[in-house]
């Protein structure tokens, strides 16, 4: 039964201040309405309980997209069309732009707003998984001022939000920190437009030295709210991507969701789709890994001297580089890594010394004179954790380096990736106790590890 418009009131304040003042004076009386793509449907069906509505669709304060150094701020009143057409959003937050393009049809996208999608709090809303994986924060405004909340803590239960009755969402902030991530998003529904999703997923991760880092997977339509797959994410963290991990992740994801049977789908089907989407995401991630072996194919085809020169910064020993270039072609990353270890162990002490001489002292940014630019850049990456050490540790490291050089006549070599300054200091003090024979083997082992890490980075381009 359609509602009678005579029983409703709607007012249009001229600006945001006037809107929040109305809400503050009678917080339980007013319901904000923006594009009306949800509330006007309730109105038509005779189920819109609120009788007094505040139109916020034309508040200029809510209709801006601003790019700051650290984040992009999307006004809560921006429509899906505003979002899907915005260049920075398309480039940096493609999954949100994509979700906007799936919402309703063009006419709905011209009216429906991101803020409205959030407060409507449907577990099936297409934009919400993207907001979850991008770590969106909301700016809430009232006459009391503004506060920021993480979207992930804002939507607390089925249609439940931590939004006070006198508050409006002013903006949605997305941190600009996902450069280099692989993203994957997919809506599974009867059709993309005008159909509510059976399952919708947004996922992000980056690959570093062949391992998965910071995997972020969110799903809609499988629980009372959009959810992150925290167990699956934990399982994937820092693991090399291989088929057995993909299978395990897919099973973990299925166990982690609580879908229901409803008019659009069944719990069983939704569960199966979740497993398949996680698999597809990880296969896409793996595809980018395989694509990167393009770098290997190119190197396989280079003339001998160029191939030597290119691989040299991974180790620093010319004999090693010559041997690696001579062993081409390599079929994959693993065979390159295995050949490197074999070659390294077959070399003499003089060759090892040559490699050691390419490294700067730990705790010093100054590159060794013989280091290539690439090797120097890698050194500073490898030492980034150590560089964060406090002054006391840095001074102790400098003293330790000096003692080591007086004792062994060369630079102290350690595979510094992931090690803090104080860890390195402890290892350095321990190794000062070694005899010459043990210590050169230890240094060679450290160089072997450094070469492995550098080769993986090099192969990934």
């Amino acid at each position: 039964m359609r509602s009678d418009p005579a029983e409703y009131d709607l007012v249009a304040p001229a600006n945001l201040q006037a809107a929040v003042s109305l809400l503050a004076n009678e917080p339980d009386r007013w319901l904000p309405i923006a594009g009306g793509t949800d509330l006007m449907v309730q109105f038509a069906a005779g189920t819109l309980r609120a009788r007094n509505l505040i139109s916020i669709s034309r508040l200029p304060e809510l209709r801006r997209i601003e790019a700051f150094a650290e984040e992009i701020e999307i006004g809560a009143g921006c429509t899906y069309s505003d979002i899907r057409k915005h260049e920075s959003v398309q480039r940096e937050f493609p999954m949100l732009a994509k979700a906007a393009s799936w919402t309703g049809g063009i006419a709905n996208q011209n009216r429906g707003t991101l803020g409205g999608n959030i407060v409507n709090a449907s577990p099936a809303a297409d934009s919400l998984p993207a907001l979850l994986v991008y770590g969106a924060e909301l700016i809430l405004v009232s006459v009391r001022g503004e506060r920021r909340v993480l979207y992930s803590t804002f939507h607390t239960g089925y249609k439940k939000l931590t939004l006070a009755a006198d508050e409006l969402i002013r903006a949605v902030c997305l941190p600009r920190r996902f450069t280099g991530y692989v993203s994957y998003t997919r809506k599974v529904g009867t059709r993309n437009a005008q159909a509510v999703s059976k399952v919708c997923m947004a996922a992000l991760a980056r690959l570093e030295i062949g391992a998965i880092h910071d995997a972020r997977i969110a799903l809609g339509s499988v629980a009372p709210t959009p959810i992150r797959l925290t167990e699956t994410e934990r399982l994937l963290d820092r693991k090399p991507l291989d088929p057995s991990l993909v299978r395990l992740a897919s099973r973990t994801a299925v166990a982690e969701v609580q879908p229901i049977d409803d008019i659009r789908s069944t719990a069983r089907y939704r569960g199966a789709v979740v497993g398949n989407l996680v698999t597809e995401f990880l296969e896409k991630l793996g595809g980018t890994q395989r694509m990167r072996s393009v770098a290997l194919d190119r190197w396989n085809g280079l003339p001998m001297d160029e191939a030597e020169k290119e691989i040299l910064p991974c180790c620093g020993s010319r004999a090693w580089a010559r041997s690696m270039a001579a062993r081409r072609p390599f079929s994959d990353e693993n065979s390159v890594l295995a050949a490197s270890d074999e070659t390294w162990r077959s070399l003499g002490e003089q060759d090892w010394m040559e490699a050691f001489a390419h490294h700067p002292r730990i705790g010093e940014s100054l590159a060794a004179p013989s280091a290539t630019a690439r090797s120097a850049a890698w050194s500073s990456q490898e030492q980034s954790d150590a560089a964060a050490a406090g002054d006391a540790v840095k001074i102790a490291l400098r003293e330790g380096n000096g003692e080591y050089e007086r004792r062994f006549g060369r630079t102290f070599i350690i595979c510094a990736t992931g090690k803090s300054g104080s860890e390195i200091l402890q290892i350095l003090r321990h190794r000062l106790q070694n005899d010459d024979r043990t210590e050169i083997r230890e240094a060679a082992e450290q160089q072997r590890q450094i070469s492995q890490i550098r080769l993986r980075k090099w192969l990934q381009g």
């Binding site: 029983e7 034309r58 049809g105 006419a107």
Partner: protein
């Protein structure tokens, strides 16, 4: 039931003409167009933003007029199917809908034409995917869509988008 709101005066431009109506602020733009202004080319299908039969342009954007409370159209420029009779894109689309069998019962046709005009304004040379997406919010229960997509593609080929 108690009466909550009072009628208000709304001024808007419809098909280029300034119009003023008295209406309750939550009255739907669709009803004002059809009942007060006699513009019955805009159809009501589902009444919930799913079918696109009530499509109109509001300030240049395609919208479903069943989801627009009239207060939100205060000061807006609204164009309905009647307002497109001199529009070169709409006329070319009308011709190609005839040629390709893009209209049968006719209920969806005004909305389809509005959505197609909106598409060709934004993308003068749309591919088939663009056409499918541009018309995805407009449902047709007669044609099976293919004739409609072909009609829009033909109109675009003739250069009406430019």
């Amino acid at each position: 039931m108690t009466k909550t709101g009072a009628q208000c005066q709304i001024s808007l431009t419809v098909n280029g003409e300034p119009r003023t109506v008295r209406a309750y602020p939550m009255e739907r733009l669709l009803d004002v167009l059809r009942q007060q202004l006699g513009l019955t080319g805009t159809k009501e299908g589902c009444g919930e933003g799913e079918c696109g039969a009530c499509s109109v342009m509001m300030d240049g954007a395609l919208v479903d007029s069943c989801l627009v409370p009239i207060l939100q159209a205060q000061g807006a420029k609204v164009v309905t199917i009647e307002g497109l009779d001199q529009d070169s894109r709409a006329r070319a689309l009308q011709q190609s809908f005839l040629e390709y069998g893009g209209a049968q019962c006719g209920i969806c046709t005004p909305g389809m034409i509005l959505a197609a005009v909106h598409l060709l304004r934004e993308k003068p040379e749309p591919g088939m995917d663009d056409i499918r997406q541009g018309l995805a919010g407009n449902l047709c229960r007669c044609t099976g869509y293919v004739q409609i997509f072909e009609a829009v593609a033909a109109a675009a080929r003739r250069g009406v988008g430019r």
